[in-house]
């Protein structure tokens, strides 16, 4: 008993220390900066005189409220569309006998490895007025001029929604797989059909994951940058992140103002998080993993399964196929041209040779290959602990751990990157210019999403397992490592994959903290983008896709070796 308490307390103390350093300190810096007119580092910055001048400037003009409206409506529309598509895919692939489910799931998850900036570019090439593939075909075949326009509010919503579908899928598929089929069987035995069972049993049981998905989708869209930058600017739709970007694109950067914008995002995140807690207030209602063994049951759709297969294939083609094929196509061209016989005749591997001959691209690939898995592993361990203390203990103030772990979602990457940059400039720890500073920033950035993944799975594990371990005299550490973590495997694996890929391809923070020795793959992508080498960028993205798929396959293989039998798809 003494041993159990000792380990638990040590883990809790470590957790509090890490969260304080990784979350509280950046927030203090941001709040402090928002109340100051002096820049960090200036003598006045550390004095105890504060002002609300930044708040008056940020919120006191009509443009801010217009931008707020744009941001919220964009986020809401993209969230709803992504959720509907993602939930459909998760249910069809995880819980029905739809043919090719494994392949479709793999392709859907494969989409995550394609950087957001490339997705946006691909859709520009597909649905841009005049040169977009769809518009050209519409003109040739139907005589219609520009029926679709990606540079519009709904164009932005569509691309962003497709970008988010894999996140919904990962969250909900893990929850659906962890569902005890006996509840559904009981429903069927009472005469309820598949649809009624889905509506009354399956979805309500997945409510934590559903709420987490909606929350994450909404906040991720508010924080998203690539789509608003590449499409929104031309469409005249400005959102918070583009405002912050343009505000921080001038010298001297107004850090006070950008911190104040981050405070608005924090307020939105806190309100939503509290609503989320209220919604899932009684966690025990969602516990489906108990001490009894079970295997998730697949629902027989009979002949409808071919229709669900066709719809899922179409969706996965739009989500993964279109951007990947556009990148592959562009990577083989000597100069960009719309698809035609001449374009295919001119194809060459020159872009790939150019990349292989450029030694400057190899070191960043290696850096990202270290950063991605290392960040993901650290984040997963951290959020598993947070999730455990929040969901499985009666400790006072446990909600605060959840709030702390989730709060960084409100910090836009540009502000988070700047905060770490400033912090380590002022505090002379020798990590500027190393991979460690980027890794620490990523730890803060990716904690919120991973926490929701793992919390949703943790909520499904019944407390009786913990109690049984205690009765059997199993130490807390052994119980956590040997019982809790293995039961969380679907959620953990999904979260690990999500964080690994995103840390691999993250741009904004890497760019702000980049020096000569710690450039990452995403920095190379940005560089190629800025110099207009879209075709080289396509080649680089195809290579990155291959590396990330290999990494994911290796991780999957390792996890199977150590006992994980669940499939992501």
């Amino acid at each position: 008993m003494k041993d159990r308490l000792g380990w638990r307390e040590a883990a809790l103390a470590l957790l509090i220390a890490v969260l304080t350093y990784q979350v509280v300190v950046p927030f203090v810096v941001i709040i402090w900066t928002s109340l100051k007119q002096a820049r960090p580092g200036e003598p006045d910055f550390l004095t105890l005189s504060f002002t609300l001048a930044n708040y008056a400037r940020a919120y006191g003009n009509a443009a801010f409220w217009h931008t707020s409206w744009n941001t919220l409506s964009f986020a809401l529309a993209a969230t709803l569309i992504a959720f509907v598509i993602g939930a459909f895919m998760a249910w069809v692939l995880a819980r029905t006998n739809t043919p090719l489910a494994g392949l479709i799931g793999f392709m859907l998850i494969g989409r995550i490895v394609i950087p957001g900036i490339l997705i946006a570019i691909s859709w520009i090439l597909v649905a841009s007025p005049n040169i977009g593939l769809v518009n050209q075909m519409a003109l040739k075949l139907l005589g219609l001029r520009n029926p679709v326009n990606v540079y519009s509010f709904w164009g932005m919503v569509w691309v962003q929604a497709l970008e988010l579908v894999p996140l919904v899928y990962l969250l909900l598929a893990a929850a659906f797989q962890a569902m005890d089929p006996r509840l559904e069987e009981a429903s069927s035995m009472t005469g309820a059909g598949n649809w009624r069972t889905l509506r009354r049993i399956s979805f309500p049981l997945a409510l934590p994951a559903v709420a987490a998905a909606l929350l994450l989708l909404f906040l991720t869209t508010i924080e998203t940058f690539e789509v608003p930058l590449l499409m929104g600017t031309r469409a005249g739709v400005r959102v918070y992140t583009t405002e912050i970007f343009y505000d921080t694109s001038r010298t001297p950067i107004d850090w006070g103002l950008s911190s104040t914008y981050a405070m608005a995002l924090l307020a939105v995140a806190l309100v939503l998080l509290l609503a989320y807690f209220r919604l899932i207030g009684h966690g025990e209602r969602y516990q489906t993993i108990t001490g009894k063994d079970f295997r998730p049951r697949r629902i027989d759709l009979r002949s409808w399964r071919y229709l669900t297969c066709a719809v899922a294939l179409l969706l996965v083609f739009l989500i993964t196929g279109v951007p990947f094929l556009m990148m592959l196509y562009a990577s083989l061209l000597p100069f960009y041209q719309a698809p035609s016989a001449a374009a295919f005749a001119s194809m060459t591997f020159d872009n790939y040779w150019t990349l292989f001959h450029n030694t400057k691209t190899i070191a960043p690939m290696i850096n990202s290959t270290i950063l991605g898995p290392a960040t993901a592993t650290a984040v997963i361990l951290l959020v598993a602990l947070i999730s455990y203390f929040v969901q499985k203990t009666r400790m006072r103030g446990r909600r605060l751990l959840d709030i702390l772990g989730f709060a960084p979602i409100a910090i836009p990457s540009v502000v988070l990157g700047a905060t770490f940059f400033w912090f380590y400039l002022i505090v002379p720890l020798p990590i500027l210019g190393t991979l460690l500073i980027i890794g620490l920033a990523y730890l803060t950035k990716y904690m919120p999403v991973a926490l929701r993944f793992v919390s949703a799975s943790m909520m499904q594990i019944h407390g009786e397992l913990d109690e049984a371990a205690q009765v059997a005299g199993v130490s807390w550490a052994r119980n956590f490592c040997k019982i809790t973590l293995p039961l969380l495997k679907p959620g953990l694996l999904a979260a690990w994959f999500w964080v690994m890929v995103h840390a691999y391809r993250e741009l904004t923070i890497a760019l702000m903290l980049a020096r000569s020795q710690n450039r990452t793959a995403a920095v190379v992508i940005f560089d190629l983008w800025e110099e207009g080498s879209f075709l080289l960028l396509g080649a680089f993205a195809v290579l990155m896709f291959v590396v990330l798929i290999a990494l994911s396959a290796a991780a999957h293989s390792i996890s199977r070796r150590f006992g994980v039998r669940e499939q992501l798809a």
């Binding site: 820049r39 960090p40 580092g41 200036e42 009509a62 443009a63 217009h66 520009i124 841009s128 007025p129 005049n130 040169i131 540079y151 930058l229 590449l230 600017t233 031309r234 005249g236 400005r238 343009y246 694109s249 001038r250 010298t251 001297p252 950067i253 000597p334 100069f335 960009y336 041209q337 719309a338 450029n358 400057k360 940059f421 400033w422 400039l425 002022i426 002379p428 500027l432 210019g433 760019l511 980049a514 020096r515 000569s516 020795q517 450039r519 920095v523 940005f526 560089d527 190629l528 983008w529 800025e530 110099e531 207009g532 080498s533 879209f534």
Partner: protein, 370 residues
């Protein structure tokens, strides 16, 4: 003819003499204007300025050898910047280079400003557009570095030189009008800046979001009232505002829109060299806005000799030839593709209150923000 030649030679001599005088008197001028006392770095540079050229060059190289390192923020991106740095490294292999090369001009200035504000002296020199140095200059963060290397700058570009030696101009960027020859018939081709208001181009002229350098260039060409008038009529012509100069160029050449209302011109030329069929034409009859790109040295540079070595080398024959080969604007050699006849407008930063009004005009008329 002879008279013209004499005049040209005399002008050049006068300009050289003026530059030499400026170099020699710079420290005095700085003190006379009430500038703060020289830092250790600036004292080194003032001492160097008093030496004969060969001795000066020898001392700089010797000092750089002892330092053994250069920390630089270089804003020529990707292979272009990497190639430039590699050339420098080949010339001075004894220096270990720590180069950040993925940042924009404003970010380079902001990085130095952040480091110095925090009291960390990490960076030796930055490459940036001169107008992005404003804040650093206001806070006196840039070293005064008089160098005879600027003597090589062609008369046409001598206005880029700072009499107070706070920057070393070594290339320039051209902002001008270009168009897609497949979408714009010759008779409709734009001739000047006011043609961007031609209804024929309605919805087909693209710009980046608000850029100080573009607005200050227009202001230098047209004055404040003229610039605001132009912005108003451009805005009425339903312009495309999209971020990314090179991206916009690629889109225009692929047929997305007709005209680049403002963009660097070299990228289209590079694409045309790669693919001679690329439908690209530059409007040479419209004045071209020239932005001065410079090297600036941190007045607290940890490696002042290495920084000086790099600053001088930027104006060397090999550095300038490299720029020309890459279609960028050298200052000691003729431009690689712009004809001599083209009219250049020096991009001079207007007072902040004027820039504020120009930006407000841009947002109101062109981006139509509420």
């Amino acid at each position: 003819m002879r008279s013209g030649l004499i005049t040209a030679v005399t002008r050049r001599r006068l300009a050289t003499m003026a530059a030499a005088a400026a170099i020699l008197t710079a420290p005095t001028v700085a003190f006379a204007q009430g500038a703060p006392p020289l830092t250790a770095v600036e004292k080194i540079y003032a001492e160097l300025a008093a030496l004969p050229k060969p001795e000066r060059a020898r001392r700089i190289e010797q000092g750089a050898r002892q330092e053994g390192k250069l920390v630089l923020v270089h804003t020529l991106r990707g292979p272009l910047g990497a190639g430039h740095v590699e050339l420098f490294h080949r010339r001075y292999p004894f220096l270990a280079l720590d180069v950040a090369g993925e940042v924009g001009s404003q970010d380079a200035a902001e990085r130095l400003l952040a480091e110095e504000t925090a009291g960390r002296h990490l960076t030796d020199a930055i490459v940036t557009a001169v107008m992005d140095l404003d804040e650093l200059i206001r806070r006196n963060q840039v070293a005064r570095y008089p160098t005879p290397a600027v003597e090589a700058i062609l008369p046409r570009y001598r206005a880029f030189i700072d009499p107070q030696n706070r920057w070393i101009p070594w290339f320039w960027s051209e902002h001008g009008i270009s168009y897609n020859t497949r979408l714009v018939p010759p008779e409709q081709a734009p001739r000047g800046w006011n043609d961007l208001c031609n209804p024929f181009f309605r919805g087909g002229v693209s710009f980046d979001p608000a850029e100080n350098r573009f607005l200050s260039g227009l202001n230098a060409m047209l004055g404040e009232a003229g610039t605001l008038r132009l912005l108003k009529c451009i805005g009425a012509n339903d312009p495309i505002v999209q971020r990314g100069h090179t991206q916009r160029m690629e889109l225009m050449l692929a047929g997305d829109h007709m005209v680049q209302g403002d963009n660097y011109l070299y990228h289209g030329v590079a694409m045309q060299r790669k693919n001679p069929a690329a439908p690209y034409a530059i409007v040479y009859s419209a004045p071209i806005l020239a932005t001065n790109d410079v090297a600036a040295i941190n007045r607290n540079a940890p490696n002042p000799y290495a920084a000086a070595l790099f600053a001088d080398w930027t104006l060397s024959a090999e550095s300038q030839a490299y720029l020309a080969a890459q279609l960028r604007g050298p200052v000691t050699l003729p431009h690689p593709f712009l004809p001599d006849s083209v009219e250049l407008i020096d991009n001079i930063d207007p007072p902040p209150e004027v820039m504020d009004r120009l930006l407000a005009g841009w947002y109101r008329y062109v981006e139509k923000q509420k």
